[in-house]
């Protein structure tokens, strides 16, 4: 199934199933798509590659009728069509699976599917059709399960089934594996392969070049809103694809240190916290130690306690015992985030907009946000705006943050640039301990390489770094040792050189961990276990 082309039935039809020619989309003075051409044939999985801001989303939205192009034409079997809205696109047989699911947590699987179907469909019929699709494609779903109890992979299946019920000829998938375990991703690939073999077309958008090389026979590469190349990904290496995307050779990141010289800087001792909400995960007796110079990677699928662990480490949620968190030997479990910063710790949350940074505020104000307790940014309770601007300037220069204007609002920066700014803001303080949640999530390859290198450099200067990430490639690139967070339980850390992606992937699915306690099973997180059981 690694072979992506096959001899699709529609390959004989010279006209592409869907074509987009000379697509130009302008937002004010900004050109998001500049004379983009794209042809999608029936029976192919076509990759759309590009950095953040390259114009992939705009093109996708045009194809799905969410945006109308400023210029250019979309064709269906050679005839020009106008996609005024998603209904028009769906009538032509275009379906889309979004990166962020649009599901109602409190409704069941069947109810969520019924929401988007035409009226008058009887529930019994719907359940049968769901079951039939499940049997055909291996998309197993229990129609009566409430969505909140499902894993990300199962949720994604609902989205796919929703699309398939409308018999699409073209299915657009936006970063579909970003929330999946390796096992779940394998299942998805099998489904996609079957859909392709039926003669459907798939437009596959992903940052993960290895997947693209595996699945796709053709790729269109966007950079700065223009098509910069088309290729057969199987004939390229991941590095050469990345180079096409960013227009430069991506720097190889120097390997992370596997041994450490320093003393222990961060320690968690039997850290347990109850789940903060119905759909959240509690932390269960987490113990870890981290020395200066070490980078510990924490793998895991979203929703297994990452957010809760980050909050417990940062002090946004204090621990019940002071000794549960030690920073350079000082008990810090009871301390708030600023007291921990004064002890030399720094934190980068997952969400850039609204957590790590206030999007409506300027960059210099966002420096004050996390540095007001540790940098000389205030005097007599008043903010020293010049000092904040100077500090922001140093971060911007050191991390090559691209921005418009002297001191723009954080929300106007692209994802990669804002992430560089946020990470740079913390690294500039030379923290003894840095905790980073998803350091390069949704960040383009060049910015990701820069961020990873900065983490490695900081560790080389003697800091202890804890990286929480869902991206195994990233962890294997930067971390010296890796532990897995599953259902609020942290597996023992193992050296990177002593483990494999497959072994970590199994742990991410919950295999090999200690028995899952009843409370975790009730919280619905343990269902990922059954995911693995379905795996081939």
């Amino acid at each position: 199934m690694a072979d992506g082309t096959g001899s699709g039935a529609a390959a004989v039809d010279p006209r592409p199933l869907f074509g987009a020619y000379g697509i130009v989309k302008r937002f004010g003075s900004f050109t998001a798509n500049d004379r983009v051409d794209l042809e999608i044939r029936a029976g192919e999985i076509h990759a759309l590659l590009g950095e953040n801001g390259a114009g992939k989303s705009t093109l996708m939205k045009i194809l799905y009728g969410l945006l109308e192009p400023t210029e250019g034409v979309v064709t269906h079997r050679g005839e020009a069509v106008r996609l005024r809205n998603p209904e028009a696109a769906r009538r032509l047989g275009i379906g889309m699976v979004f990166q962020h699911f649009s599901l109602c947590e409190n409704l069941t699987v069947a109810e969520n599917i019924a929401l988007v179907m035409e009226r008058g469909l009887r529930r019994g019929t719907l359940a049968e059709r769901i079951a039939a699709l499940g049997a055909t494609y291996g998309l197993h779903l229990e129609p009566d399960r409430p969505v909140w109890s499902l894993s990300a992979g199962e949720r994604q299946r609902i989205e796919i089934v929703r699309c398939l019920l409308q018999e699409p000829k073209l299915l657009i998938l936006d970063e579909p594996t970003s929330v999946l375990t390796p096992g779940e991703a394998e299942l998805l690939f099998t489904v996609l392969e079957r859909l392709r073999a039926e003669g459907r077309a798939l437009l596959y958008i992903s940052h993960r070049l290895e997947e693209v090389r595996r699945l796709c026979a053709r790729a269109t590469i966007l950079r700065g809103g223009r098509v910069v190349g088309a290729c057969d990904p199987r004939a390229e290496s991941a590095a050469s694809l990345a180079a096409l995307m960013v227009g430069e050779q991506v720097r190889e990141v120097a390997p992370g240190p596997t041994t450490s010289g320093g003393g222990e800087r961060l320690r968690l001792e039997q850290l347990s916290l109850p789940a903060p909400g119905l759909h959240a995960t509690g932390l269960r007796a987490i113990t870890l130690g981290l020395r200066g110079g070490e980078i510990l990677g924490i793998a895991g699928i979203a929703g297994n306690g990452q957010a809760e662990l980050f909050a417990a480490l940062s002090g946004e949620v204090p621990a019940p015992q002071a000794g549960a968190v030690r920073i350079d030997g000082t008990p810090a479990g009871h301390l708030g985030v600023n007291a921990r910063r004064r002890l030399g710790a720094a934190f980068v949350p997952e969400e850039r907009n609204g957590h790590a940074a206030a999007p409506g505020m300027s960059l210099s104000e966002n420096v004050i946000l996390s540095r007001h307790a540790t940098a000389p940014l205030t005097r007599f309770g008043l903010v020293r705006r010049a000092a904040a601007r100077a500090l922001a300037g140093r971060v911007i220069e050191a991390f090559d943050v691209r921005k418009a204007g002297a001191d723009p609002a954080a929300g106007t920066l692209s994802g990669g640039n804002l992430q560089k700014f946020v990470i740079g803001r913390e690294i500039q303080a030379e923290p003894g301990i840095l905790v980073v949640d998803q350091p390069t999530w949704g960040v383009d390859a060049a910015a990701a390489a820069r961020i990873r290198q900065a983490l490695l450099d900081l560790a080389a200067r003697g800091s202890a770094i804890l990286v929480i990430s869902q991206d195994l490639d990233e962890l294997f690139e930067v971390a010296g040792s890796i532990a897995v967070l599953h259902a609020g339980h942290l597996s023992p850390a193992v050296p990177r050189t002593g483990t494999t992606r497959e072994a970590v992937g199994l742990l991410m699915g919950g295999a090999g961990g200690p028995p899952v306690a009843a409370d975790a099973a009730a919280s619905g997180r343990a269902v990922t276990r059954s995911e693995i059981a379905h795996a081939p």
Binding site: S29, N85, G336, H355, G360, M361, I368, L369, S370, R385
Partner: protein, 358 residues
């Protein structure tokens, strides 16, 4: 056919500055049409509403006296609203402030000798009472998660009825022929007049000082920064280590204190005694003023003056042109809608999208 709001790439500072002016002009135009439909010449009405109040010394003083409590209360409210806290009960905090400060004046009535401490004590008592009264919804929210909107609003009626009872009962002037009012305050318990023989009193200065202080605190201090972050991005505020609890209590204390101070300034200034009612709804009008002024103290000062002018003008129009007072209220509401609408238009473009509504 449907309307879409598309975010503008950049918000022009000129458009942001001009939008309230444009909104005001539009409101005047619509108001003119309404006046014409009531059978009054719009030109004459415009003169009575907006020109006459600004052309005589006594009415200028009236405007300042009306604007001062509005500006003071709205400035305090700006802290709450910036932090996304909805204190709707400034009217109650105003009343309680007036009552507590007034009680000091009544208790010291007729005392001889050194009396210079009485007025400061009244102002402090009024401010503290306002703070304490605002702490009720604040603590209920912080400790029990009760919506501050409902509690602060309902406490307004508690305060009004308490004042009503006190003015008719325990604090009534025993020699006042059973009129429901307290004794007239001594000279030492009154805010001094700024000009001999006029109505303008020192409470106006208090409002000005508050506006300047609030500009500094909100714009320049770490506390003001924390308030703004808490409102705009609450998770980022938590990440910054700003305690939501403390910010909530502080914002309510500031708005309650400002309302309480405005209350006692009104009682010790213009009224000079306790009556069953001491406010023509300043605490509620101040909510409009706060948003008209876009939650910035200087903007609030300007908005308070505009509202004061239309109120004074509205009273004159009622007498001179027999126009209903409700027209003034409608105009003030219209103005708020237009200012908020213009604000949206500076941030978004309106686009007509053909096709069915989604």
């Amino acid at each position: 056919m449907r309307l879409d709001l598309v975010p503008r790439d950049r918000r022009s500072p000129l458009a942001a500055a001009l939008s309230p002016v444009l909104a005001f002009l539009t409101a005047v135009l619509i108001g003119g049409v309404a006046v014409a439909m009531l059978g009054v010449a719009p030109g004459a009405a415009f003169t009575v509403y907006f020109v006459a109040p600004l052309s005589e010394l006594w009415s200028l003083q009236e405007i300042a006296l009306k604007a001062a409590p509005l500006a003071l209360i709205a400035t305090g409210l700006a802290f709450c609203y910036r932090a996304n806290l909805w204190n709707i009960g400034a009217e109650g905090q105003f009343v309680v402030g007036g009552l507590a400060g007034g009680w000091v004046a009544i208790a010291t009535h007729g005392s001889a000798g050194f009396t210079a401490w009485i007025l400061p004590a009244m102002l402090i008592a009024g401010t503290c009472a306002g703070i304490a009264y605002a702490m009720i919804p604040a603590l209920l929210r912080v400790r029990l998660g009760v919506s501050e909107i409902l509690t602060s609003l309902m406490l307004v009626y508690v305060a009004e009825l308490l004042l009503d009872y006190m003015a008719r009962g325990p604090l009534r002037d025993p020699a006042g022929f059973n009129f429901p009012q307290s004794v007239g305050f001594d000279e030492a318990a009154r805010l001094p007049y700024l000009m001999e023989g006029d109505t303008l009193h020192a409470g106006v200065l208090v409002a000005l000082v508050a506006v300047v202080l609030a500009t500094l605190v909100l714009g320049r201090s770490l506390f003001g920064f924390a308030t703004r972050v808490a409102g705009a991005s609450p998770r980022a505020a938590r990440f910054a280590g700003f305690s939501e609890e403390r910010l909530t209590l502080a914002a309510f204390a500031i708005s309650g204190g400002a309302a309480g101070l405005a209350g006692i300034a009104e009682v010790a200034g213009r009224i000079g005694q306790l009556q069953p009612t001491i406010s023509p709804g300043y605490g509620f009008t101040a909510i409009i003023v706060a948003f008209l002024g876009r939650l910035s103290p200087l903007g609030i000062l300007a908005a308070a003056l505009v509202i004061a002018v239309t109120t004074i003008g509205g009273e004159a129009a009622q007498i001179d042109l027999r126009l209903p007072l409700d027209l003034t209220r409608a105009f003030q509401g219209l103005l708020l809608c237009l200012v908020l609408g213009a604000d949206v238009l500076t941030r978004f473009k309106v686009r007509l999208v053909p096709g069915a509504a989604r």
